[in-house]
């Protein structure tokens, strides 16, 4: 079983993750302010530095919180300790060094990479190193488990492996074979980034399934055929549906056709959510005082909204107008904040909160964060709609002027989103022992 030493490692990951989330949200808010006040820090700390700081810190939050959860849960599942605690600490130390180094590089305006991974390529080697340590440690631990694997173990395995693959793929541009062919370079970059998102979704959804099992005390769902069908469907989407990003790239039409067909299988997931809706609502009623469950329910609602958006954006006729607009940002924010962050906050809450009861402060935080996020999301769609409407008719500056009311709304609601998250986080009592969970 888990020892206090293993739990300490998990807790350190979780504390770090929360710091990263707050830092990431703060830089995001600063970026929003530059949209509405373009002269603010324009030359001293431009958007070229703010954006990668925001994106990298928020992505780091997702990976750190997901890894922290796995460090905590896995010994409880396999009923013995991690293969090597030392590897776990090396993973943590290297990861923190990379995040600090990356933040300094971005803050000083030192880049050299690509969108979302703007750091110079040598830093990628360090990222790959600590992920390999995690990968070895995870697989050496999980393969000792001889019973039938629940779906979350499959999800974590595929998420960890696919992140390693997609990260390597995202660095292929350093070879001239990829870099010197614009179509290949752009397509492979979209492929790597699209699948990379899927890889961390696997880590996060695995966490959600584990939590659901623990909260309900029912193990049937995590072993059911239907759950596994949707796991494989999700994995297929991770592998093949990235192509809807490349509708505008002059690559082989087959890439687009495959992507379109695979994207439409998401309708099955949507149908399943609708089919289970009644049951979901009664479950919420039953667990309405459980903070982790409430966060998972919020994530459920965001899955529903973002799935509809994702399916619409995958339709070529719609994508033709929406690509390159804030529709894409709405989808990205809806998934990273609405789905990933809510699930990971649920995980942090589950591990770190002594009380099973949701406090008033927590409920206030939940509602503030989700209402603000909903307004934020709608405003992003509004900005996207405006650009799609005027694209090709007006100049960029004119379009920005039309979008400005939405940008004010985005920044304003972003501020309240931060407040909501702060309220939720303020309930967490960080401690180094498990408290018996």
């Amino acid at each position: 079983m888990a020892t206090e030493k293993t739990d300490t490692l998990a807790h350190v990951f979780l504390v770090t993750s929360v710091v990263l989330l707050l830092a990431g949200l703060t830089f995001g808010l600063a970026g929003g302010l530059q949209y509405v006040f373009p002269l603010w820090m324009k030359d001293s700390f431009p958007f070229t530095r703010l954006r990668p700081l925001h994106v990298s810190l928020v992505i780091s939050w997702i990976f750190t919180a997901a890894s922290g959860g796995i460090y905590y849960y896995l010994p409880r599942i396999v009923k013995h300790n991690w293969y090597s605690l030392r590897l776990g600490w090396m993973h943590y130390i290297l990861m923190v060094c990379v995040i600090i180094l990356m933040s300094f590089l971005y803050a000083s305006g030192t880049f050299g990479g690509r969108e979302y991974l703007e750091f110079p390529p040598w830093l990628g080697l360090l990222i790959l190193s600590y992920w390999t340590l995690f990968l070895i440690n995870f697989f050496r631990t999980v393969f000792t488990y001889k019973e039938k694997w629940p779906v979350y173990l499959w999800m974590w395995c595929s998420g960890i492996l696919f992140f390693a693959f997609t990260f390597l793929e995202s660095q292929l541009w350093i070879f001239s074979f990829f870099r010197d062919n614009l179509v290949r370079d752009t397509t492979v970059q979209w492929k790597a980034l699209g699948s990379m998102v899927g890889s961390w979704n696997m880590l996060v959804y695995g966490t959600a399934f584990y939590l659901m099992e623990q909260i309900s005390g029912n193990s049937k769902v995590v072993h059911s055929k239907k759950t596994f069908f949707f796991f494989f469907l999700g994995l297929t989407n991770l592998m093949f549906n990235w192509g809807h990003h490349t509708y505008i790239v002059p690559a082989s039409p087959w890439i687009k056709n495959v992507s379109y067909i695979i994207s439409m299988t998401e309708l099955l997931i949507l149908g399943n959510i609708l089919y289970q809706w009644k049951g979901t609502v009664s479950e919420i009623q039953k667990n309405k005082n459980n903070p982790a469950y409430l966060l998972l329910s919020a994530a459920d609602a965001w899955v529903f909204l973002n799935l509809i958006l994702a399916i619409l954006l995958s339709v070529p006729a719609i994508n033709n107008h929406t690509h390159g607009t804030h529709f894409t940002v709405a989808h990205a924010m809806g998934t990273t904040i609405g789905i990933n962050t809510m699930i990971l906050l649920a995980s942090v809450m589950y591990i770190q909160w002594k009380s099973e009861k949701a406090s008033r402060k927590f409920i206030a935080g939940m509602w503030t964060a989700n209402t603000a996020l909903f307004i934020f999301w709608i405003a992003l769609l509004g900005a996207g709609w405006t650009k799609a409407l005027y694209q090709g008719q007006l100049t960029h500056q004119q379009i920005i002027s039309h979008e400005m009311p939405f940008f004010y709304t985005i920044t304003f609601s972003g501020f309240f989103l931060l407040i909501g998250v702060l309220l939720i986080i303020s309930n967490i009592k960080f401690r180094s022992s498990s408290g018996g969970r």
């Binding site: 958007f47 969108e115 499959w154 292929l172 505008i248 002059p250 390159g324 100049t395």
Partner: protein, 131 residues
């Protein structure tokens, strides 16, 4: 091997085969344009060095604060002078990145190279994006 492991193995094999196809055939034959010259290649690295993608997109990759650049710079068009001015001095929204004249020329060569591709695709981004 149980059914689940078999499905996973099949999916993984299909993914690897598909990836190799994307790296080669899938991105090789639909449009043929000469490879970029040295100046355009350097321009691409300058574009990365200053993180231009934080605000600008090329084929959808990048931020939305600045205009889309996939077809912004057609060879010998009037927008060339305007682009030079933006790159040299910035604008009310764009910071002055203090690029050297050589770097500016390289970025412009790169953008002209990109524009050749968007002319070959069914790309619908604004053709007057820089105006």
């Amino acid at each position: 091997m149980n059914t689940r492991a078999r499905v996973l193995s099949l999916l993984t094999i299909a993914f690897i085969v598909y990836s190799v196809w994307v790296y080669t055939e899938g991105t090789d034959s639909s449009v043929w344009i000469d490879p970029p010259g040295i100046s355009a290649q350097e321009g691409k690295l300058v574009y990365q060095k200053y993180n231009c993608s934080a605000c600008h997109q090329i084929f959808g990759l990048g931020g939305y604060l600045g205009p889309e650049l996939s077809n912004s710079l057609v060879q010998n068009s009037p927008s060339e002078a305007l682009a030079f001015s933006y790159l040299k001095y910035g604008s009310p929204r764009m910071p002055n990145l203090h690029l050297s004249d050589e770097e500016i020329q390289q970025v412009m060569e790169y953008l002209k190279y990109v524009a050749k591709f968007s002319g070959e695709s069914n790309y619908t981004g604004s053709p007057v994006a820089l105006k």
